[in-house]
Symmetry: none
Subunit: 210 residues, 4 copies
């Protein structure tokens, strides 16, 4: 009812444009799923957010589940795994802390996806994501015998920081920038990985491609 005369000021929303409609649905889905989780999000919610008929979800994505899958496919920040090795951890912190995740409601997508972790499928996605983004890269860096464990411990820290920042909202972490965390993280990482890690990274190394 409040949208009756919106058509005038809506700038350039093309109607009957398959790609545009698909994109709007995907965008709305990403946000809803991130904020409310899979179960609390209805396809009608997403459709309403997109200003699009709900049946198009099924036309374009097949099912709510498939939409979820597509919506929660994170494109890991380009450049994370490139650049100087000793700055890898600093880049990871940036990814967690400074990166612009507004597309996912302002939270790291991994954290957002935990909200849907009642579903084994979502859990698997999280697992793959954590391994691909953090554990594997860190394991390659770690020296000594229990490299896997230490890589996971460091990964756990990244995830934990994301959670305290956005879900829990503890005061210091919620406000902190990557630069505030860098010295601490570098010290710990150096310790855990058994090789010197830098607290700063020259460039972002984590600008989402989308």
């Amino acid at each position: 009812m409040s949208t009756i005369d919106d058509q005038a000021r809506e700038p350039a929303v093309p109607k009957r444009d398959r790609e545009a409609t698909r994109a709007r649905l995907l965008e709305a889905a990403r946000l809803r799923f991130a904020r409310e989780g899979y179960d609390a999000t209805s396809v009608r919610d997403i459709a309403r957010d997109s200003g699009v008929d709900a049946t198009l979800i099924f036309r374009y994505f097949g099912s709510k589940k498939q939409l979820f899958d597509e919506a929660s496919a994170t494109d890991l920040p380009a450049g994370l795994l490139e650049g100087p090795q000793e700055e890898l951890v600093a880049r990871m912190v940036r990814t967690v802390v400074d990166h612009d995740w507004t597309k996912y409601g302002g939270e790291h997508p991994l954290v957002a996806m935990l909200r849907s972790s009642a579903h084994e499928d979502a859990r698997r996605r999280i697992r793959e994501e954590v391994c691909a983004t953090y554990v594997n890269a860190l394991r390659d860096l770690a020296e000594g015998e229990d490299a896997e464990l230490r890589a996971e411990l460091l990964s756990a820290w990244m995830v934990g920081i994301g959670i305290l920042r956005s879900v829990v909202g503890t005061p210091a972490l919620a406000e902190a920038r990557a630069a505030d965390l860098a010295p601490h993280v570098a010290a710990v990482a150096t310790d855990l990985l058994g090789r010197p890690m830098s607290g700063t990274a020259d460039r972002e190394g984590g600008s989402s491609r989308t």
Copy 2:
């Protein structure tokens, strides 16, 4: 709270039944909410698990949400905050890794509650829990100026470890015992808190057996 002094005038049996039924509902709710999350759990599920009629949930707790609130009130492991200060972090790790959380489906209740973190209520619970259990105690220990931040960073690690262990299930952490983690944790904690922390704790310090 209104049932606190009821035990005096009970006619022996029917009263205990009421209490027993309430307790069974709570127990079933705790498990379901932890495992499946708030949305994926139906009041009928809980009632069925408890072997009682679903309407009793409304009679006893008012609504599904209130049942959730009551069911997700974690009794933080007794003894966590007692004992030698230098062993505090080691005790925390034990709480996360070795403690028997079968009451909550085998996961640390904080981790389980993340599954329901779409709801502001659950988020508040998590916030309170994290602060009460981890941040506050660690902040008191930390030396130097940004004590809060460092306490939160360490808390984030505890939470992150819990997540990777049970939700994500990364291979090394999923199998690890507190003893495997102790040396790494002690080193990092010593570093972050600016005071020597021990990697072992004499006793559990958090049995809270239910």
Copy 3:
């Protein structure tokens, strides 16, 4: 909207009576399924007809399909298979022509069920019904070698008569009573079964038990 003030003249419809509600649903389902077929009947139709909430269908029957199964379970007219053998065919004709099938919308339930014969389940039901009610009994009576075929031919006639009467509505059959058909049927049956069959049956031999 036209039912707003019906509550006054509804004579004795007991509310909150499980059996009564179940019975009303079943009755409405029987009629709808018979008249419109499975696919064209919605659970809301049935609920509306019964003056009952649609969700009770699932409470009491589990699913639309199970309701259909129960609603289409014909109790074959008591007495059909009893009584003098030479009057069996006459009794069958009565079942098809004179029996009061208003419960099924005025048609023989077999004929009504043909409307749902797109579903293999319904087809199986029809098959069982036809064999149990007609073919088996007639085969036992037939003399000579291709008894099965002749029994089926006679059964086909019964079914065909039912269809022309109610679905097609050909003028003579639609008006005919069993007595009008009896001489013709008796002659043919005598011929097909190879033993004398009577054109009259003393008693109805087909009063549905329900």
Copy 4:
């Protein structure tokens, strides 16, 4: 009807396309409607079967119902009503039993249409068909007073045989060929019609190859 004289001005190719598409839709519709019934068949099913866009159905036929009407117009087997009168019933049996009805999913179209008999339109079609194909021809043959009734009874038998053969699938009839049924049918027909009927027919008299 508006396309009757279009063939004169066609530009050779595109017109034939339109006709060809229309024909394919009709063919697919015939099959689907016969096999699954009106309600269980969706316009998308038919379009998919034909390999064309679903909206063409509305373009060419107006609505699903109109497509159904057109698709269920049976062309009664040519030659049924021609040929020696005493072989008429034998020809009818052939039509029911031996004729190639693959166009209608292998069943006599009358039988197939019963699946849609919830709709008055379909019922009317069946009525017309039964009268035109069976009752009228047989009435003309019958001697004596209640010729109509006897003609209908014999028609009922034809229809019933079709039903038991394909819908119900009773064992003997499902396998039988016209030749197996001929002697029985001839005897009964002779009896019912009051004039000698032959059990064999020289030629099919109803090919209607499409």
